[in-house]
C-alpha cells in the first residue's frame, strides 16, 4: 500500500462522521414504490436511445474486424469497397490520421474511460481476433455493411496466446487491485490446512461471459467545425467519454458534448470507451458528415469486452464447531495484452467471515482477446461462486446446516482491515430469507427429494458487494414559480435513476414530485461519475443534498434581508424545508414559501452547484451490502437438465429508496446470475482466439421459461454512514446466485459441480 493512501486512511479514521441526515427517517416520497418516470416515454417511443436521434444528413459507418488474434496486416485492398454503391470513405491504418490512445479508465478528478492501449487504426499490429482494421462510411447502413464485407486484409499471422488455460502458468501477481493489495495473509494457512481434520480444498473455473444488453452499442457523431463535437453515445459515463474523446482527437473537453440520457442496459459494458465510438467520430471527421455507427450483435461481441474467465482455489479448514481456522482463496483471471484489469474475485472473503488465519491472493495472465471489462458485480459474482460453493461443501463435511455454518463465522469487525462495519445485518437477512423460503423444512440429506424423474434440491449462498461512493457534482436551482431543477451528467439505464433522484429532491425541498425536474445524461451538466459500482444513487444523492443545503442557505439569507420575515434571526439549524418553502423547526407555521422569498427578493431563481468530497467514510468503515440467496432446483435424473423452480433473495442493502425499482434490480441480478450459472459462456476458439457464438441464438441468456417466480425480501435498515442511509442495489443481486444454484444441485444429486456453466452434460 502506498504512503499517500496510508495517510489518507489514517485521516479517514479520525474524521468525524457526517451529520445524520433527517431524511433517513422521512417517507413522503423516499421509500415509496413510485413507478418509473421514464416508463411512459419509453413504452410510447418518446424516449430516444443513442442510435435514434433524428439527425439531418446522417450517413453510416461499418467496421471490418480482424480474423486473426495476433500478427500484422501486410496488405489491405480497399479498391472494391471504395467503388461499391454509396461509399463515401474507407479508412484503414494506411490513411487514418494519428489519434492519441485514451488513458485507461479512471473515475478520479480527470475522468477517462479508455479500454485498450491498442492504437485502433493507427497500427498494422493485431492484438485480438475482432480488432477493427477498417471503417467504411456510406449513405446507408446496408451499403456500409456490404462494402465492409468486400475488404479482406492479408495478414501475417503469429501464434497468439489464445487459450486462458494454457496461459495460467505464466500468471503474475499484479501490483495492486483497485487500490487493494493483491495478496493478504495472516498466520500459516497451508500448515493449518494440512493439519486439519475438517477441510475442503476445491478448484473452480468460470468461463468468459459477454455483454448482451438489448440495446446494441451505438454512436452518432456530429462535428461543428474542427474543434467542436456533439456525440450521442450509449455510455454509462458521459464525463469519461467526453474527456477521452477530447484526448483522442486533441480537443478541449468542454468542446465535446456527450449526450446519453437513456442506456438500454449497461451492466458495465457501456462504462468504457469501446472502439466504435472513436471510429464513429473519426468517420465523421473524415467525411465531414454526421455519422452513425451501430455494430451488429456479432460486432459488439468482437469489440466490447466481457467478464474474464477464472480459475480459483478455495481451501478452508474448520474446527468441529464449524469455526474457520484457515481460509485460502487464490486464483487467476485473464486480461488482454493491452489493458489492465485483474478482476477482483478475491475480495468477498476479505470481508465476509471471521478467520484466524488466511491467505487470499490473485494473479492475472494476458491473452490475445478483446479487453476484459466490468460486468455486473465484477469480482464478487465469480468470487462468491467459488467461496460459497466451498463453504457449502464444508457444511456437508462438518454435518452442519449451511446457514448455521455461515452464522457461526459471522465476524464482529472486518476480518482483514479490522475496521468496524458501517451496517451489517446479514444474520437478519438470513432469518428473513430462510423464513420466506421455508428453509427449515429442507431435509438435510442429499438426493432425498424426487418428483418423477426430477431430483429436487435446495441451496443457499451469501452474496456481497461493496458500497462505493464516487465524487459527483450536481447543480440545484429553485425557480421563482416554486419549481426546482436538478442537473447532473449521470445516466438512466433503466434502473430508476430519474425516479429516485426526483423522489429525493422533492423530499429534500418539500416540493411535490411534479415540481421537480431532474436533468441528466449530458456531459455539459455538472459531472457525475460512471454509472457503475452500484454507486450512482448515493453519490448523486449526496451531491444533491449538499447543493440543496447551499440553496436553502442562500434563500434563508435572502428572506432575512426583510426584517419583517417570519424567518428573521433564524440560523440554518433552526429551519428546514417544509411546505414548499423554509419554515422554523420550533414554530412549524412560521416560514415562507420559495415563491414568496424569491418574489420579495425580485429574483428569478437561486442556484448552487456542488461537488462532493472524497469517500473517506469507505476507508473508515467496512461498508458492504449483503444477500442471502435461497433457491430450489430440479435436475432431470436422466438428461441432467436443470430447472430453477423457486427463488428467495433476502437483501441487506441499507434503506430501500424505492421498493419497486429496487426489487427490479434484485430480480434482474438474480436472472443474470441464473444465466451465469447454467447457460451463458463465450466460446473463444483456442486455435484462433475467435468468438464462435456471437449471437443471441447461440449465446444462451436465460429465457422466460428458465426463470421462476422470484421473491424478494429486504432488511430495509438504514446505514448511518451513507447518504440517505442507502446502498446501491444494482449489482448485489447477481452475487451468490451461481453458488446457490450449484449448492442446490449438489443437494439434489450429490454432485458438486465446480465449473460454470453447469450444462446438462456435467450432470449426466
Amino acid at each position: 500500500m502506498n504512503i499517500l493512501r496510508k495517510v489518507v486512511e489514517t485521516f479517514a479514521h479520525v474524521m468525524p462522521d457526517r451529520d445524520r441526515d433527517e431524511l433517513i427517517q422521512r417517507h413522503r416520497f423516499l421509500g415509496q414504490p413510485i413507478s418509473r418516470l421514464d416508463g411512459r416515454p419509453k413504452v410510447t417511443g418518446a424516449a430516444h436511445f443513442s442510435a435514434e436521434y433524428p439527425v439531418e444528413g446522417l450517413v453510416h459507418a461499418a467496421i471490418v474486424y480482424s480474423t486473426i488474434s495476433k500478427g500484422a496486416i501486410v496488405a489491405i485492398d480497399t479498391s472494391t469497397a471504395q467503388q461499391a454503391p454509396g461509399v463515401l470513405s474507407v479508412i484503414t491504418h494506411l490513411n487514418a490520421p494519428q489519434m492519441k490512445v485514451p488513458p485507461p479508465f479512471s473515475v478520479g478528478d480527470s475522468p477517462s474511460s479508455g479500454t485498450t492501449l491498442v492504437k485502433i487504426l493507427n497500427t498494422d499490429r493485431i492484438s485480438w481476433n475482432g480488432q477493427p482494421v477498417a471503417v467504411v462510411v456510406a449513405d446507408t447502413p446496408e451499403q456500409a455493411e456490404h462494402a465492409a464485407s468486400l475488404i479482406h486484409p492479408v495478414y501475417a499471422a503469429e501464434p497468439g496466446v489464445n487459450s486462458f488455460e494454457e496461459s495460467i502458468p505464466q500468471a503474475k501477481q499484479p501490483k495492486e487491485i483497485m487500490g487493494e493489495a493483491p495478496e493478504v495473509k495472516k498466520g500459516s494457512a497451508d500448515v493449518i490446512l494440512k493439519d486439519s481434520i475438517h477441510r475442503v480444498d476445491l478448484t473452480f473455473t468460470t468461463p468468459p461471459y459477454n455483454h448482451n444488453a438489448i440495446e446494441l452499442h451505438a454512436a452518432i457523431a456530429i462535428w461543428d467545425g474542427n474543434d467542436k463535437l456533439t456525440l450521442y453515445d450509449t455510455s454509462q459515463f458521459t464525463a469519461g467519454t467526453a474527456a477521452s474523446i477530447a484526448g483522442v482527437f486533441g480537443l478541449k473537453t468542454e468542446n465535446v458534448r456527450v449526450i446519453s440520457p437513456f442506456v438500454g442496459g449497461g451492466f458495465g459494458g457501456k462504462g468504457g470507451l469501446w472502439p466504435y465510438t472513436q471510429l464513429c467520430v473519426l468517420a465523421s471527421r473524415i467525411t465531414g458528415r454526421p455519422v452513425r455507427l451501430t455494430p451488429s450483435r456479432a460486432g459488439v461481441f468482437r469489440i466490447v469486452g466481457g467478464r474474464t474467465p477464472s480459475q480459483q482455489r478455495v481451501a478452508i479448514a474448520a474446527e468441529p464447531s464449524g469455526k474457520f481456522s484457515t481460509f485460502i482463496h487464490e486464483g487467476v483471471t485473464a486480461q488482454s495484452t493491452d489493458n489492465h484489469f485483474p478482476e477482483q474475485f478475491s475480495f468477498p472473503p476479505r470481508h465476509l467471515y471471521a478467520m484466524d488465519s488466511y491467505r487470499i491472493a490473485q494473479k492475472v495472465t494476458e491473452v490475445n482477446r478483446v479487453a476484459n471489462t466490468f460486468m455486473r458485480a465484477p469480482g464478487e459474482s465469480i468470487g462468491t461462486f467459488a467461496v460459497e460453493s466451498a463453504i457449502d461443501a464444508l457444511a456437508y463435511e462438518l454435518n452442519l446446516d449451511p446457514v448455521e455454518l455461515r452464522m457461526r463465522n459471522e465476524p464482529d469487525r472486518d476480518p482483514v482491515s479490522g475496521n468496524e462495519f458501517s451496517s451489517r445485518y446479514l444474520r437478519e437477512a438470513y432469518t428473513m430469507g430462510a423464513d420466506k423460503f421455508g428453509w427449515k423444512n429442507r431435509p438435510a440429506a442429499v438426493g432425498s427429494q424426487r418428483d418423477g424423474d426430477w431430483l429436487i434440491g435446495q441451496g443457499t449462498a451469501t452474496g456481497t458487494y461493496p458500497v462505493y461512493r464516487v465524487v459527483t457534482a450536481a447543480r440545484l436551482r429553485i425557480n421563482a414559480d416554486g419549481t426546482a431543477h436538478v442537473q447532473t451528467s449521470c445516466q438512466e439505464m433503466g434502473m430508476g435513476t430519474e425516479t429516485v433522484q426526483t423522489q429525493h429532491a422533492a423530499e429534500r425541498l418539500a416540493l411535490p414530485m411534479e415540481k421537480v425536474k431532474f436533468e441528466y445524461g449530458d456531459s455539459t451538466l455538472p459531472a457525475a461519475s460512471v454509472a457503475g459500482g452500484s454507486s450512482q444513487t448515493i453519490s448523486v444523492a449526496l451531491a444533491v443534498h449538499e447543493a440543496a443545503d447551499n440553496v436553502i442557505k442562500e434563500l434563508l439569507s435572502l428572506a432575512q434581508k426583510d426584517s419583517e420575515s417570519a424567518l428573521a434571526g433564524a440560523k440554518f439549524d433552526d429551519i428546514h424545508a417544509a411546505k414548499e418553502g423554509i419554515f422554523r423547526r420550533d414554530h412549524p407555521h412560521l416560514g415562507q414559501t420559495y415563491v414568496a422569498i424569491l418574489k420579495h427578493a425580485g429574483k428569478d431563481f437561486v442556484e448552487a452547484e456542488h461537488k462532493t468530497g472524497a469517500p473517506l467514510e469507505t476507508m473508515k468503515y467496512s461498508m458492504h451490502s449483503y444477500a442471502a440467496q435461497f433457491c430450489e432446483v430440479r435436475v432431470h435424473r436422466l438428461s441432467g437438465e436443470v430447472r430453477v423452480s423457486r427463488w428467495v433473495g433476502a437483501f441487506d442493502c441499507g434503506r430501500i429508496l424505492n421498493p419497486k425499482t429496487a426489487v427490479s434490480q434484485f430480480r434482474g441480478g438474480i436472472i443474470m446470475g441464473i444465466g451465469m450459472a447454467l447457460t451463458e459462456e463465450t466460446m473463444f476458439d483456442d486455435r484462433t482466439g475467435r468468438i464462435m457464438n456471437p449471437s443471441l441464438a447461440e449465446y444462451h441468456v436465460p429465457v422466460q421459461a428458465d426463470v421462476p417466480h422470484i421473491d424478494i425480501v429486504y432488511t430495509d435498515i438504514a446505514d448511518p454512514h451513507t447518504p440517505l442511509g442507502a446502498h446501491g442495489v444494482g449489482e448485489i443481486g447477481i452475487t451468490g446466485v451461481a453458488a446457490a444454484i450449484a449448492n442446490a444441485i449438489h443437494h439434489a444429486t450429490g454432485k458438486r459441480i465446480t465449473s460454470l456453466p453447469i450444462t446438462l452434460d456435467k450432470l449426466m
Binding site: 476458439d685 484462433t688 464462435m692 447461440e698 429465457v703
Partner: protein, 336 residues
C-alpha cells in the same frame, strides 16, 4: 449482403419457372418462404443468392385430408398454423408437439413447412465466413472437427463434416413416414422422407436430394401412422428457444405387451433427421420391456463416433430413447 432481384411467384409452376429463368451457372436463385433462415444466411454472407423467388403468395398453404385417410400439408403452411391444426393435433400429435418445441412463437409464425425441411445447419463454423467449412466452401476443411463440436453429430458423420440437421419438425416427419412432393423443371415427383436429407459423405455442401430448381409443394402423412400414441422429447441447454442437443420422437402401438408398430426418430445427432431403423427392427414384435428398449438403444448407437465435445450425446440419446419408449409403454398400459 449483395444486391438481389426480388420476384414474386403466384403458383408452383410460376415459382419453378421464375427460378429456372433466373438461375445461371454460379449465380444461384432461391425460393423465399418465411425467410427466417435464408435471410439470416444472406446477411451473414453464407448464402449469396442473386435472385429470390418469393413463394409465400402461392396457394400451397392448406392442410387437407387425402382419400386414403392420410393428410396433405402444403409447403407454405406456417409452423404455428400447422401445430395448432385440429387434424394434426388429433391424428399426428407428435408433429404438433415437435413443432412447438422448436424456435420461438415469433419464428414459428413466419416459418413454413417447406422452409423448415430445407433449413441449414447451425454449426458455428458454417456460420462464420472466417472459418474453414466444407459445407460452405467445399474443400476448405472442417474447423468443427477439432473445435467446438458439442452440438455436432455422432451418427452418419464423415471426415468432411459432422454437422447436424437442426429441425424438430423433421424428426416427427421422419418418424411418421411422411412423403415429400416436389415439382421442378423435370416435372413432379415424390420422395419418402428418409430420402430427402443426405448424409455428408464427401459432398457436405449438398444437404438434400432435391434437384436444383425443385420446389416442395406439399408433404403427405400416411393413414398408417395416424392416431398412434406418441411422445416428442427434446433435450436442450435452456428451457426454450434452443436447438436440440438430442431429441427423440416416437409413435408406438402395443398390444398385450407386444410392440405391434414402432416409429422412432432422433434429432440433433446426425446430418439428417435420424430414423432409428436398427432399434425399430429389434423392437418390432418384441416385448415392450425396458431391457428391450435398452438393447435397441444400444444397437442404434453402436456405430456412433464421438468427438471431444459431444461424446455425452451417445449416452444422452440412449437414455432419452429408453425414457420415451418407457413413457409410451406406460401410457399405452394406462389406456388398455
Amino acid at each position: 449482403m449483395n444486391n438481389f432481384t426480388y420476384l414474386r411467384a403466384t403458383d408452383a409452376n410460376s415459382a419453378v419457372n421464375l427460378l429456372a429463368a433466373n438461375s445461371t451457372q454460379g449465380a444461384a436463385a432461391r425460393f423465399l418462404a418465411g425467410g427466417t433462415n435464408l435471410v439470416d444466411l444472406m446477411r451473414e454472407g453464407i448464402e449469396t443468392a442473386h435472385a429470390l423467388v418469393d413463394i409465400t403468395r402461392t396457394p400451397l398453404a392448406d392442410v387437407h385430408q387425402l382419400p386414403d385417410g392420410g393428410l396433405r400439408m402444403g409447403a407454405l403452411v406456417r409452423n404455428s398454423h400447422l401445430a395448432a391444426h385440429p387434424l394434426i393435433r388429433e391424428k399426428y400429435p407428435l408433429l404438433s408437439q415437435a413443432i412447438l418445441h422448436g424456435a420461438s412463437a415469433q419464428l414459428r409464425n413466419m416459418a413454413t413447412t417447406g422452409g423448415n425441411i430445407m433449413q441449414r445447419t447451425r454449426c458455428y463454423y458454417f456460420y462464420d465466413t472466417a472459418s474453414r467449412c466444407n459445407k460452405r466452401a467445399p474443400g476448405s476443411g472442417c474447423d468443427a472437427m477439432e473445435g467446438f463440436n458439442r452440438i455436432h453429430a455422432i451418427l452418419g458423420t464423415s471426415p468432411q463434416c459432422i454437422a447436424t440437421h437442426p429441425s424438430d419438425m423433421c424428426v416427427a416427419l421422419a418418424a411418421l413416414d411422411a412423403t415429400v412432393n416436389v415439382t421442378g423443371p423435370a416435372g413432379e415427383r415424390s420422395l419418402p422422407f428418409s430420402e430427402v436429407h443426405r448424409l455428408p459423405g464427401n459432398t457436405p455442401e449438398i444437404d438434400t436430394n432435391l434437384k436444383p430448381g425443385e420446389l416442395i409443394t406439399s408433404i403427405d402423412l400416411p393413414a398408417s401412422t395416424a392416431g398412434l400414441s406418441s411422445v416428442y422429447r427434446k433435450v436442450r441447454d435452456r428451457a426454450s428457444y434452443a436447438f436440440a442437443l438430442v431429441s427423440v420422437g416416437a409413435a408406438i402401438k402395443i398390444d398385450n405387451g407386444t410392440i405391434q408398430q414402432i416409429h422412432l426418430a432422433l434429432g440433433g445427432v446426425a446430418h439428417k433427421p435420424w430414423r432409428a431403423t436398427i432399434a425399430e427392427q429389434l423392437l418390432r414384435g418384441a416385448d415392450a420391456t425396458s431391457e428391450n428398449f435398452a438393447k435397441a438403444a444400444e444397437a442404434e448407437l453402436a456405430l456412433a463416433i464421438p468427438r471431444r465435445g459431444n461424446a455425452f450425446k451417445i449416452e444422452l440419446a440412449k437414455r432419452t430413447i429408453i425414457a420415451v419408449l418407457s413413457e409410451l409403454t406406460a401410457n399405452e398400459g394406462a389406456r388398455q
